[in-house]
Amino acid sequence: MEVKPVVGALIALAALQSAQFRAGVEAVRVDVLVVDGRKPVTGLTADDFQLRDNGVVQRIDSVAISDVPISMMIALDTSQSVAGHVLRELKEGVSDAVAALRPVDRAALISFSSDVRLTMDWAGTMEGVPNALSRLRAGGSTSLWDATFAALTFSDDTPGIRRLVLIFSDGDDTSSWLPRDAVREKARRTDAVIYGVEMRDVYTRNISALHNRSGIESFNNVLPDDSPFLEEVADATGGSRFRITDAADLRKAFSRILIEFRTRYLITYTAQGVDQTGWHALDVKLKTKHGKVTARRGYMR
């Protein structure tokens, strides 16, 4: 692994000592991806971006890229349906992804089936990974929504990092207590970027989430799902959902996510001319250069 000096990142993050989404009183951080076709656009500076907060153009304080340390929370579906080769491929994929992190990066692992378990606590070194992966067993149903909430809540609170939440699931939620809407709202409130990897053919929606807290309603009534959960929460955070049909593609998907995340820009600005509370819609564009910008749709203050 390459060890790079992080001087640039330290300068860029000097104003972000609290490492929260809204550091201090006013600072706001927005994680954005810029691509031209499928190729990341690199070398952009603050002058290249135009950012509107609730429609008001903001002055960008800084733009940081790959030097900023990453904290990667991995949430793995270990329900009964992943038993066998899928679980083996998952372990390989996680192992590779964690090995690709730099010494300044951190990782943690949550596994979920019916229950949601912390399999590996936040660590700066990767020594615990083999042991954590060896403990993974497949069995039980799928508490995808609960696990997503837990992954977002148990975020790394180390100052000055970028938060990546990587979630794998091969099916629809079947046993969460938390309703889907509540978890989507949680995603909107955090600064973590969700990347989802889904491996399934048929998409269904738990009808219970339409009406009641999911834990109290039954979960066996399913309808065609025109908006898969992982796509929804990834979209809310400015991330992406990758869809695969073969477990052999898991390693490639995890690797691609990490590479893509490293090419993202971290924009910092001080919100001015807008209300301090409530929902802030964000619109990030390139001023003159060509490229598609993906960022979270807004933030709650």
């Binding site: 837990a150 148990f154 207590w177 009808i207 834990g215 109290i216």
Partner: protein, 343 residues
């Protein structure tokens, strides 16, 4: 609620679902039971290593009229014998003896504490499924027959069980018409019909036995699904003092959810915390509390609520809601009995 129960899951229940806590090596039967109550789980080998004569004599002493054994210890001893059965490699030659001792101990438990009839009923309700799952079919049938004989006059429990079936059927019907074509039928209507009948049964059960507040929990859930929230809340409140900690947990959880919907966040928070106290191994209550705290801007507390109970290394999880209803997870039902007897 979950329907994927497998024999293997039951077989592994004692080791996987809730892992045994660390244990010292006890010296006598009573010390074994005490250690099991305090530390949980790892005394089964020592119990099986004792001669049957020694165990039978120890149980005789424990259940005798002049015994100093408290009902809590007797109940824990019963569950220790159950664990000695399900974790044995030679179940065929072990289980009958161990389960017989458990029954004797439960009988004495009920005599010392009549309210423990509820625990005994649940034990007789769950153990046939557990034994069946580990291949002890004739023993399972024997326990089931005994249960039928013991409670054959208890109409309230019979109505409660029928109500559970109908509540489950109603819950599995969609809330709106979804079928199309010549075979379409009103699923929402079917749902309502099941709920009406289940409600009648739960209501009658409660009239016969006002202390059977688990029926109030289920009736409250139906009222909640029918959007009759005030009625639901009153029913959940009556179940908050049930003898079964799982019922207290679910009543607090459901009521907390209602309070949250109405915007009474302080009340909801207190109820979620009460639920966590009733059943420290539950997962849904810490999640509900964490989500509530997060939504109200208390992120640090939201994180603490999760890490204190759920998201910590080697956390033991036994969620009562997974055992809710007639098709509840058998492994969880067994684990709920186990953790209930621990200190």
């Amino acid at each position: 609620m979950r329907s994927y129960v497998s024999a293997a899951l039951i077989l592994l229940s004692a080791h996987v679902t809730v892992a045994p806590r660390a244990s010292a090596q006890p010296a006598s039967y009573r010390a074994l039971v005490q250690s099991y109550r305090e530390l949980g789980g790892a005394e089964t080998n020592a119990l099986r290593a004792m001669s049957r004569e020694a165990v039978a004599a120890a149980v005789d002493e424990a259940i005798s009229g002049g015994s100093s054994w408290a009902w809590e210890d007797l109940r824990a001893a019963a569950m220790l014998h159950c664990e000695a059965c399900v974790t044995a490699t030679d179940k065929g030659s072990t289980c009958e003896f161990q389960i017989m001792q458990a029954e004797r101990l439960l009988e004495r438990t009920m005599r010392l504490s009549p309210r423990q009839e509820d625990f005994a009923w649940r034990w007789y309700h769950v153990m046939p499924r557990v034994l069946d799952s580990v291949g002890q079919k004739s023993l399972a049938l024997g326990i089931e027959t005994q249960a039928a004989q013991k409670w054959h006059l208890d109409m309230a429990r019979a109505e409660y069980l029928q109500g559970l079936e109908l509540e489950s059927k109603g819950s599995h019907e969609p809330t709106a018409l979804t079928a199309v074509g010549p075979n379409a039928y009103d699923k929402a209507g079917a749902r309502a019909t099941h709920f009406v009948r289940a409600s009648e049964l739960f209501t009658t059960a409660l009239q016969r036995r006002p202390d059977l507040t688990v029926a109030a929990l289920h009736l409250g859930r139906i009222r909640m699904l029918e959007d009759k929230n005030e009625q639901a809340a009153a029913l959940f409140r009556s179940a908050l003092t049930d003898v079964d900690p799982s019922v207290r947990y679910l009543a607090a959880l459901f009521l907390g959810s209602l309070e949250e919907r109405e915007g009474r966040f302080d009340a909801a928070e207190k109820l979620y915390r009460d639920a966590m106290q009733s059943m420290p191994y539950g997962q849904s209550a810490p999640l509900a509390l964490s989500e509530l705290l997060s939504r109200t801007g208390r992120e640090a507390e939201a994180r603490s609520a999760l890490t204190a109970r759920v998201l910590r290394m080697n956390a033991q999880v036994v969620e009562p809601f997974w055992a809710y209803g007639p098709d509840g997870d058998t492994a969880t039902q067994f684990d709920l009995l186990r953790v209930e007897v621990w200190k």
